[in-house]
Symmetry: C2
Subunit: 465 residues, 2 copies
Amino acid sequence: MEEAVKDQNNEKEKQDKEMYDEELLIRALRQEDLDLFRSEFTQLHSYDQAKFFSKVEDELRTRLYHYLSPEEMAELFESLDIDEEDYQEILAEMNPSYAAEMLSNMYADDAVDVLNELDKEQVVSYLTIMDDESAKEIKELLHYEEYTAGSIMTTEFVAISQNQTVRSAMYILKNEAPNAETIYYIYVVDDDKKLVGVISLRDLIISHDDVMISEIMSERVMSVGVSEDQEAVARQMKDYDFLALPVVDFQHHLLGIITVDDIMDVMEEEASDDYSKLAGIADLDSIDRNPFNAAKKRLPWLIALLFLGMITANLIGRFEATLDKVAILAVFIPLIAGMAGNTGTQALAVAVRGIATGDLEKENKLSLVLREAGTGLITGTTCGIVVSLIVYVWKGTFFLGMLVGVSVFISLFVATLAGTLVPLFMHKLKVDPAVASGPFITTINDIISTLIYLGLATLFLNYLI
Amino acid sequence: MEEAVKDQNNEKEKQDKEMYDEELLIRALRQEDLDLFRSEFTQLHSYDQAKFFSKVEDELRTRLYHYLSPEEMAELFESLDIDEEDYQEILAEMNPSYAAEMLSNMYADDAVDVLNELDKEQVVSYLTIMDDESAKEIKELLHYEEYTAGSIMTTEFVAISQNQTVRSAMYILKNEAPNAETIYYIYVVDDDKKLVGVISLRDLIISHDDVMISEIMSERVMSVGVSEDQEAVARQMKDYDFLALPVVDFQHHLLGIITVDDIMDVMEEEASDDYSKLAGIADLDSIDRNPFNAAKKRLPWLIALLFLGMITANLIGRFEATLDKVAILAVFIPLIAGMAGNTGTQALAVAVRGIATGDLEKENKLSLVLREAGTGLITGTTCGIVVSLIVYVWKGTFFLGMLVGVSVFISLFVATLAGTLVPLFMHKLKVDPAVASGPFITTINDIISTLIYLGLATLFLNYLI
């Protein structure tokens, strides 16, 4: 068994190495050995090519533009995952006509992603050099707003008419296969280019050649509106296990399709978005090598929270007289504030996720608020009682135990509600609810809970002295 | 334009309604109108069927087992997304032979997901009633550990030999299409059932009928080991834009395939996992209707943190004498603890994400630590200076400003390092680093920062009075 596991690891390593021999490629580039380089490089999956491209030093990279055709570079670029601001620099390294030809060879949706990072002037100049058909396709897509279905769809799909036989549909398919982004779903349109049905390649190949498309197509074809949010599209695709979804305009004309690989990118993007906002970081996409860049992403939140924290300090300052008389009160401030911050974050996470996954669209928002109020009462009561007992046993003063316990109870209840209501309210105002990030809610709840605690203490000061 | 947008919304609503007429279905069930119900229900996508199934009341649900065949129920079950503990109850409602037939009609990987929620005895009894072939397939899959490639793969795939023509491969494909989970990649095996190549249906249909498979197949086929972590598999599939990946044992025998729809579920599961742990909730999968359930998921963290918080209180208690002399010190405790908590969470999020996405495997861990130390120095210096100035201007005491500023500086530096080192250390110990959740790191950093602040204050007490 031990032996077997080791074998498996060896196998794995060998495989990884075979997949991608970086040193060999670099050597070939350095020695300007075009044949060796091409014979190795063109065998690689475009993802590995792109990984190599983004890793290699600048001087060798520019050599690639001579070693690879614009078509080959297009495929590499479709898999490229670099920082948005780097596209400009890299395209500037290329000969403009090479760059234009590369862009026209990319799937239109991927080309648009690249062009969106450039200056308007540059975009126009590339579109002018490009062949007319590609330029037209790209111009259409450039119109759609970011994060909508239109912005992630591709116009390279296969559409057929319903008055065709399976044989003629297969004929069309074979011709269009090299250019279409997917051929596993074929969409059926009427004379007006309106979407009327869908058929999978699977159903097509098991049908008899002479059957009419209208007989075997499914008329219950799901589609998304071109201006729909990409997150909603991703959800639909995941729920229904589709490999592609058609995109239509308001008159149900077929405009494009969205394929599952784009959706996986959207899912990762949105998840990382929610996550980084819960942590209070502007953007967590990649691990920066540079501490200044990292600090730049974190400082906006930290400074904002510092000012919020100053408000807390100011408010506590008003209770200085109370604190002066009973110094032990200060001992429990971090505990109460911390507990309130934690419950608030929990409630926030549930609400933000509920909004993001669309679960909250279906159910009544009031029921969520009531549910959370109930949860806050339960957690508040439990923690309040536990804390009362501990403080009473520890300090031996019944009243201090009561005070801390009641403060925890009220704070947890209010903090849970705040964690729910703030994101719901922001969603209502069409602000991204994840902006109400974890640190923000935590700091708000610090303020509320400290006020509750010191307010109660001041009110009942006589019992404490 | 306004008009157009409105039209689009109407279109959207109409479409949603057409997709799914819940009331009609419920009415048909109540009136025991089998024909009406079936004519509507069998038209629905299995995801909508499953949604209806999990929503309808118990009494009507049991009626469904008589209205739908085990095959139809199998398809519905594949799309069902209910709480794990509910499967037991629902299967108990069915006639055992109906349940067994349904399970044998499901894709083996989905059937295994259901069976994994049941008692061992129940599983055995279903497997006994089931037809032998299905039982065998399911038994094989039941062996694999959860969260590995083996646990999410399916054994229903199409494999062909390389010594075949395209024509005969297409023939096999047409026969197996109804049972295979995907036919868009066809795997090529040698006589020993070892994986030697892959060909896409796309390449198959554009090739001439008489070409040999060995000529057109790709020999650079990527595969994953059966015991590989599902998250690593998901990453590979997303990076390379595959629709399916073959799973092999250590001798490279083809065991099964993993399809993209399963991977999307894995991606969502893992993202929601990281997210809920950052928020300190046991499990955030679904929005509970019941506040007691919600409280049950949150209380373990809250109680644990309460005890940690008590440690903080105890530590602060040791500085009671200091606080007694300079009550204003208490004013800045929440500010400093809050800032430390926030930076710690930011650093934690970066480290946990880096571990989860595998980015950290490639780069040196020491370089992350050094980078984070640098980030901590920068954010600490910036926030420290800002806070010093504010406190100095506000309170007019230079020394208090210095004290708070220096405390913020040290706290932020230490908290950033703690947020990085704790998850790295847990990863080293093979503990899921996300267990070092946001609230946990926050509370740890509360303790550290309060100690730094009050320690410094006590040391320099003479300057403060």
